[in-house]
């Protein structure tokens, strides 16, 4: 087989592989959907937000409920000590000024 044909065959095989991969992932996504009610029930029981992915620091574990004091209570220079603090953005309501709704 000459080179252009080989290249065209490679592209076609690649496209077919991606299609097959997408079908497989679609099936996997449907299977994952079946655990959704259990996930929602678990969250309903605790009522707590955020993922249990990084539990090293409280302001990362429950970042949506954390305020700036939670972050600093780990120690003024500690937040950046945790590698996960480099990955998760600080919650926008961490600064209380945007949350406490005082009206004149």
């Amino acid at each position: 087989m000459n080179k252009p044909r080989l290249l065209a065959a490679f592209i076609l095989i690649l496209i077919a592989s991606i299609m097959a991969q997408l079908v497989y992932l679609k099936l996997k996504a449907s299977a994952q959907e079946e655990t959704q009610p259990a996930k929602e029930a678990a969250v309903r029981l605790t009522g707590l937000p955020d993922l249990a992915l990084s539990t090293e620091a409280r302001f990362v574990r429950h970042r949506s409920l954390a305020d700036i004091s939670t972050i600093l209570s780990e120690g003024g220079s500690l937040p950046e000590y945790f590698p996960s603090a480099h990955l998760y953005a600080v919650s926008p309501q961490a600064h209380a000024s945007g949350v406490i709704r005082h009206e004149p």
Binding site: Q21, E40, A41, A42, T46, R61, S69, E103
Partner: protein, 390 residues
């Protein structure tokens, strides 16, 4: 499209097979790197967003000296009188540090006998029957907690150390269902009275208050009323949580993107400088021009050539990224999201194929590559054929 031009372009790619393969593989790996990071963060973000509806509409925390303090439980009654509020409940929760394993557990007090929780308990907990646990100190644990306790030889119970140093034996009554690890891995559910003892929260005080509002349109108004009623509180609504989830990785996604842009810039500089337009390629353009090809035809050929290489490399990159993230579970990248945590949840990344994300990666890479090839080709095509061939 002219099929002969396509054949000619494929032949031209084949003639410089080694160089095109090397450039294509580097390009594919760069696309795979960017796509893997973005797909992983998108997948995790979708996981938190999917359970947003199960969260309480409003969470009320008390601030004391700039820190969160315990809130008076009787505020629940005043909050329940606000029009639009369906219910308000005190909540007792906190953290317990298990020194042997160096992990933090999240302890949550729950009124197991409240009918409202019955359905959720059945759906989320395995092997648990409340009737057998009346008047006993029991706990329901997440998959990560169970694993940690087993590793420390606690199979049926766990000895908590109370604030006064005494021990409290608590029996293991059940575990959270498989598949909920990302929500519950570090969680321990306990009866409220037991949670109060372990967290040193006296009767009459709670960690925070959760509020349900019947009409979603009224949540902001109810939140304002709670703030006015209790100016020392911090009121977090579900909209705030949605906003918080929205920017979960925004800043850090930007960090990855900036790293990627640096890598991409170096790649294109290399491409332009070293292999963009070799002597042989310039001579080929000269010959084509001498044979009577117009400049736009030469450019069309080069566009087609670079387009085929870039598109193939892009497809290969996406193929690698999808396999790496959703089939191999992104080893390495997930570790970044887990940080130092000792208590790592056993979970499967939810499959989320965001076409707009893939489109964005396409637009950020393929046209740039084509431009990096076209520019030297255009320069070569503008020079006199005779001069180029010499």
């Amino acid at each position: 499209m002219n099929p002969k031009l396509l054949t000619f372009a494929l032949e031209a790619i084949g003639r410089r097979g080694g160089k095109n393969a090397a450039v294509g593989i580097i390009f594919a790996l760069l696309v795979a790197l960017l796509a893997s990071v973005l797909l992983t963060s998108r997948s995790l973000q979708s996981e938190v967003e999917k359970t947003l509806s199960a969260l309480p509409d409003i969470t009320v925390q008390k601030l004391q000296g700039g820190r969160q303090g315990l809130i008076e439980s009787d505020r629940v009654y005043a909050i329940e009188t606000i029009p639009g509020v369906t219910w308000a409940r005190e909540r007792v929760w906190g953290y317990y540090y298990f020194q042997n394993a160096g992990v933090n557990f999240t302890l949550v007090g729950l009124d197991f006998f409240l009918p409202a929780y019955e359905e959720s308990l059945n759906a989320a907990i395995r092997n648990f029957d409340i009737a057998t646990w009346m008047d006993r100190d029991f706990m329901i644990v997440g998959e990560g907690v169970e694993r940690t306790l087993h590793a420390n030889y606690y199979k049926e119970y766990f000895n908590f150390i109370l604030p006064d140093g005494a021990m409290k034996k608590v029996e293991l009554a059940g575990t959270f269902a498989a598949g909920t690890a990302l929500q519950s891995s570090d969680t321990i559910l306990l009866p409220v009275t037991l949670a109060r003892t372990l967290l040193n929260a006296p009767e009459g005080l709670a960690t925070d208050i959760t509020v349900a509002v019947a009409n979603p349109e009224e949540v902001a108004m109810v939140a304002t009323k709670i703030s006015r009623l209790y100016p020392d509180t911090r009121v977090i609504t579900k909209t705030d949580l949605a906003g918080s989830y929205q920017n979960l990785f925004d800043y850090k996604g930007g960090l990855f993107l900036s790293l990627f842009i640096t890598a991409l810039a170096s790649f294109f500089i290399l491409l332009l400088d070293k292999s963009g337009m070799g002597l042989a390629e310039r001579r080929e353009i000269g010959i084509l021009r001498a044979l009577g090809w117009r400049m736009e035809e030469v450019i069309r050929l080069k566009l087609l050539e670079s387009g085929i290489v870039a598109f193939t490399a892009y497809l290969l990159g996406i193929f690698i990224a999808l396999g790496y993230v959703f089939m191999l579970q992104a080893p390495g990248i997930v570790a970044l999201f887990e940080g130092y945590s000792v208590l790592k949840p056993a979970f499967e990344l939810p499959v989320v194929i965001d076409l707009s994300l893939l489109g964005l990666i396409f637009l950020a890479t393929v046209p740039l590559y084509m431009a990096a090839v076209i520019f030297p080709a255009w320069r070569a095509a503008t020079i006199d054929a005779d001069e180029v061939m010499r």
